[in-house]
C-alpha cells in the first residue's frame, strides 16, 4: 500500500509538470488556434536560465527572474515570427513554431553543454517520510507549486479584466476587437504566459536530477495531455496532465509484473497509447469543445 501511495505521489509530481506544460499549449491554442511546438524550447530556456542565475542569487529569486526573461523571449518570438502570419493556415503557423523550437533549442543546448547542469534548488533528492510513505520532496514541491499556479491562473481568467478580454478574444476575435479588446495584446500575453508556464515546468523537471539536453522530449508528452483533455480546455489540461502522470508512474512501477512487454521503459509510450485510445472514442478529447461544421 505504501509503495502504491508513493508511486501515485510521484505520478502527481510528474503529472503536474505535464499539466504546467499543457496549460501553456492550451493558452496559446485558445488565443491563436495553433499548437505551438516551441514549448519545449521555452521549457529548456527557463531551466538553463535558472541554472546560470542561481550561481549569483537565491534560488527563488532566480526562478522569478528566469521566468520573466522567458516570458520576454515568448513575446519576442510572437512579435517577430507569428504576428506576420495571422490569418494564414494553422498548419503553416504550427510548422513555424517547429522552426522556432529548433533555433532556440540549439542556442540553449550550447549553453547546457554535454554536462548535467544543477538547478541549485533547496530540495535536491531529499526525501520526506509521511506516515511510513517515502516521498521525494521535489515531487511535493512541484505539486504544490502547480496547484497554486493553476489556482492563480483560473482566478486571473475568471475575475480580472484582462482575463475577460482573453476569454472574449478566444471565443470571437472580431467581436472582441469591436468591444475594444486589443487582440494583439492578448496574443503577446498568451505567449508570455505560455512561455512562463513552460519555463516553470523546465525548472521543476530538472530539480534534483539536473538539466540535460535530452530533457526536451518530456515537453512533448504535454501533447497527448492536451489532446486527451481537449485542446481548448484549461481544466482538462490539468486533469489530463495529472492523470497521465499517475498512469505513467503506475505502469512504470507495476507494468513489469503484469507482463514483460509492459516492463522496462514501456511507461514512456503510455501517454501516446492513452491518447490513441481516447481519440478513437472521443475525437475532441475528454473536455474539448466539439467543432461545429458549417458548409
Amino acid at each position: 500500500m505504501n509503495e502504491f501511495v508513493a508511486t501515485v505521489v510521484r505520478g502527481l509530481g510528474n503529472g503536474s509538470i505535464y499539466a504546467l506544460l499543457a496549460l501553456g499549449f492550451v493558452i496559446i491554442y485558445k488565443s491563436m488556434r495553433v499548437i505551438s511546438f516551441a514549448q519545449p524550447a521555452f521549457m529548456m530556456a527557463g531551466g538553463v536560465l535558472v541554472s546560470y542565475l542561481v550561481l549569483s542569487m537565491n534560488f527563488f529569486l532566480a526562478v522569478v527572474v528566469a521566468l520573466l526573461l522567458t516570458a520576454l523571449l515568448g513575446v519576442g518570438v510572437e512579435r517577430l515570427a507569428l504576428r506576420p502570419m495571422i490569418g494564414k493556415p494553422v498548419f503553416v503557423i504550427a510548422i513555424i513554431t517547429l522552426g522556432i523550437d529548433i533555433v532556440i533549442r540549439t542556442v540553449v543546448n550550447s549553453f547546457i553543454g554535454l554536462d548535467i547542469r544543477q538547478m541549485g534548488d533547496p530540495w535536491g533528492l531529499q526525501q520526506l517520510n509521511v506516515l511510513g510513505v517515502t516521498i521525494d520532496q521535489r515531487h511535493l514541491a512541484t505539486l504544490i507549486t502547480t496547484l497554486v499556479v493553476v489556482a492563480a491562473l483560473f482566478a486571473f481568467y475568471r475575475w480580472s479584466r484582462t482575463g475577460l478580454a482573453m476569454r472574449a478574444a478566444s471565443s470571437d476575435q472580431e467581436v472582441a476587437q469591436a468591444q475594444g479588446v486589443s487582440v494583439g495584446r492578448v496574443f503577446s500575453l498568451s505567449w508570455a504566459l505560455a512561455a512562463m508556464l513552460a519555463g516553470l515546468a523546465g525548472v521543476f523537471l530538472s530539480t534534483g536530477i539536473g538539466l540535460e539536453q535530452n530533457l526536451w522530449l518530456t515537453a512533448l508528452k504535454a501533447l497527448p495531455v492536451i489532446i486527451l483533455g481537449g485542446l481548448d480546455s484549461l481544466g482538462g489540461a490539468v486533469i489530463a496532465g495529472l492523470s497521465i502522470g499517475v498512469v505513467e508512474a503506475l505502469v512504470g512501477n507495476y507494468g513489469g509484473d503484469v507482463s514483460p512487454l509492459f516492463g522496462g521503459d514501456f511507461f514512456l509510450v503510455v501517454p501516446y497509447l492513452l491518447m490513441l485510445l481516447v481519440l478513437l472514442v472521443r475525437p475532441y478529447g475528454l473536455f474539448g469543445t466539439r467543432e461545429v461544421e458549417r458548409i
Partner: protein, 368 residues
C-alpha cells in the same frame, strides 16, 4: 501546328506531363546532366546526391498526403522505418541466429515489399485520420513516431537493438551488386544511377497520380472536405488512398535510405526525421512534385554546404569540442531559420521562386 506550339486543341494536350516545348527541352537537358554527373563528380558528393534522390522519393510521398490531400502528418519517420526494416529483414542472412532474415536480395522484390508493408501500415492508420482534422491529426501521427521508436528499439530480432543495429538490405538487380565497387563503376556511381532511375520512376508515377481523378479528389478534400463530400467525393476513401500511397513511398524511401547509409540505429527514425521531411516539402514547395525534389536536394545538401563555412568564416569552428560556434550549431540554426523564413516570405517554397523567375523571363522585357 508547328508554328504555334502553345495552342492546345484538347484537354489532354493541356494536361500532358511536358506540355510546352521548353519543358521538353529542359527535362532532356536535366536528365542528360544528371546521367553525366557521376563521371564528373567525386564519389563522396555522389553519395550525398544519391541520398538526396532517395529523400526526394520520401518527400514526394509526404507531399502527396500533406501537400495534395492536406492531411498534416508528422509520422513519416514511422513509415520510413517500417520500409527500412522490411527490406533489411527480407534481404537479411537466413542463417543468422540473432536476426530475422529471408535471404531475398533481389532489389525489386524487397523494394516492393517494403512499400507494400508500409502502405498497409498507412491503411491501418488512415481510419484515425478520417476521424480527425488538422492539428489533432498532426499530434496523433507524432504519437505514432514515439510508439514506433519504442517498438523498433525493443524488437531486437528485427532491428538489431539500440546501439547495435543490423546491416541494410543488399541491392542486387540483373546480377549487378550495387553496393560494392565493380570493375567499370564504383559503388557510389552505381548507387547514384540506381537512385536516379528510381527517383524518375516514382516521380513520374506520382505526377501522373496527381493529375488524374484521384489527384483532383485529393485537392478537393484538402481545400474543403465538407464541400468535397457534397459534390460526391468519398472523403474517407480518398484520405485512405492518400495515406496508403504516401506510406508506400515512405516505405520505398526508407528501404533505399537504409541502403545509402548502410547502417541505421533504430532510434534514428524519430521526430527529427519527420520534421526534416516536413521541412523538405515546405522549402521545396507544397503540393508540387518537382518542389519535393528541389526541397529534398536542398535539405540534404545543406549540411554539406555548411561544412564549407569554416573556410570562409574563421569564427566558426569545425570541431564539436572546441569553444565558439560550431558548424553543427550553425547548420541546425540555419535549418530552423530556413523553415521560418520560407514560410513567412515565400510560402510556395523554391518552386515558387522558380515560377517567379520563369514568369519574369517569359514576359521579358515587360513586367506583366
Amino acid at each position: 501546328m508547328r508554328g504555334r506550339p502553345q495552342l492546345y486543341l484538347s484537354y489532354g494536350q493541356d494536361m500532358a506531363l511536358l506540355n510546352t516545348p521548353s519543358k521538353r527541352w529542359w527535362t532532356l537537358v536535366l536528365v542528360l546532366v544528371a546521367v553525366l554527373l557521376p563521371f564528373m563528380l567525386e564519389d563522396d558528393l555522389l553519395v550525398v546526391l544519391a541520398t538526396a534522390f532517395v529523400a526526394a522519393i520520401g518527400a514526394i510521398g509526404l507531399n502527396l498526403v500533406t501537400g495534395y490531400a492536406g492531411q498534416v502528418s508528422l509520422g513519416h519517420a514511422f513509415f520510413l522505418a517500417i520500409g527500412a526494416y522490411t527490406a533489411a529483414a527480407l534481404s537479411g542472412d537466413p542463417d543468422s541466429t540473432r536476426l530475422i532474415g529471408f535471404g531475398i536480395t533481389s532489389l525489386p522484390i524487397w523494394l516492393l515489399a517494403a512499400g507494400l508493408v508500409a502502405g498497409l501500415a498507412g491503411l491501418i492508420v488512415a481510419p484515425l485520420a478520417a476521424r480527425l482534422r488538422g492539428l489533432y491529426l498532426a499530434v496523433v501521427t507524432l504519437g505514432l513516431v514515439f510508439i514506433g521508436e519504442h517498438i523498433f528499439k525493443h524488437w531486437r530480432e528485427l532491428t538489431g537493438g539500440v546501439g547495435v543495429g543490423r546491416p541494410a538490405a543488399i541491392p542486387e538487380l540483373f546480377g549487378i551488386e550495387f553496393a560494392v565497387d565493380g570493375a567499370m563503376f564504383t559503388k557510389a556511381q552505381k548507387l547514384y544511377l540506381l537512385m536516379f532511375v528510381l527517383l524518375v520512376i516514382f516521380g513520374v508515377l506520382a505526377r501522373n497520380l496527381v493529375r488524374s481523378r484521384i489527384g483532383r479528389a485529393l485537392a478537393a478534400v484538402r481545400d474543403r472536405d465538407l464541400a468535397a463530400e457534397v459534390i460526391g467525393v468519398d472523403v474517407t476513401r480518398y484520405k485512405m488512398i492518400a495515406f496508403a500511397v504516401s506510406s508506400f513511398y515512405a516505405g520505398v524511401a526508407g528501404a533505399l535510405l537504409y541502403v545509402m547509409i548502410g547502417f541505421v540505429e533504430p532510434g534514428s527514425f524519430n521526430l527529427a526525421m519527420s520534421v526534416q521531411y516536413i521541412a523538405m516539402i515546405l522549402v521545396g514547395g507544397v503540393a508540387t512534385i518537382s518542389g519535393s525534389v528541389l526541397g529534398a536536394l536542398f535539405i540534404t545538401l545543406l549540411p554539406r554546404l555548411t561544412r564549407e563555412l569554416p573556410a570562409v568564416l574563421p569564427f566558426i569552428s569545425s570541431s564539436s569540442t572546441a569553444g565558439g560556434i560550431t558548424v553543427f550549431q550553425v547548420e541546425t540554426i540555419l535549418y530552423g531559420l530556413l523553415i521560418i523564413g520560407f514560410l513567412i516570405f515565400e510560402p510556395r517554397g523554391l518552386f515558387g521562386i522558380w515560377i517567379r523567375i520563369r514568369t519574369y523571363w517569359k514576359s521579358w522585357p515587360f513586367s506583366h
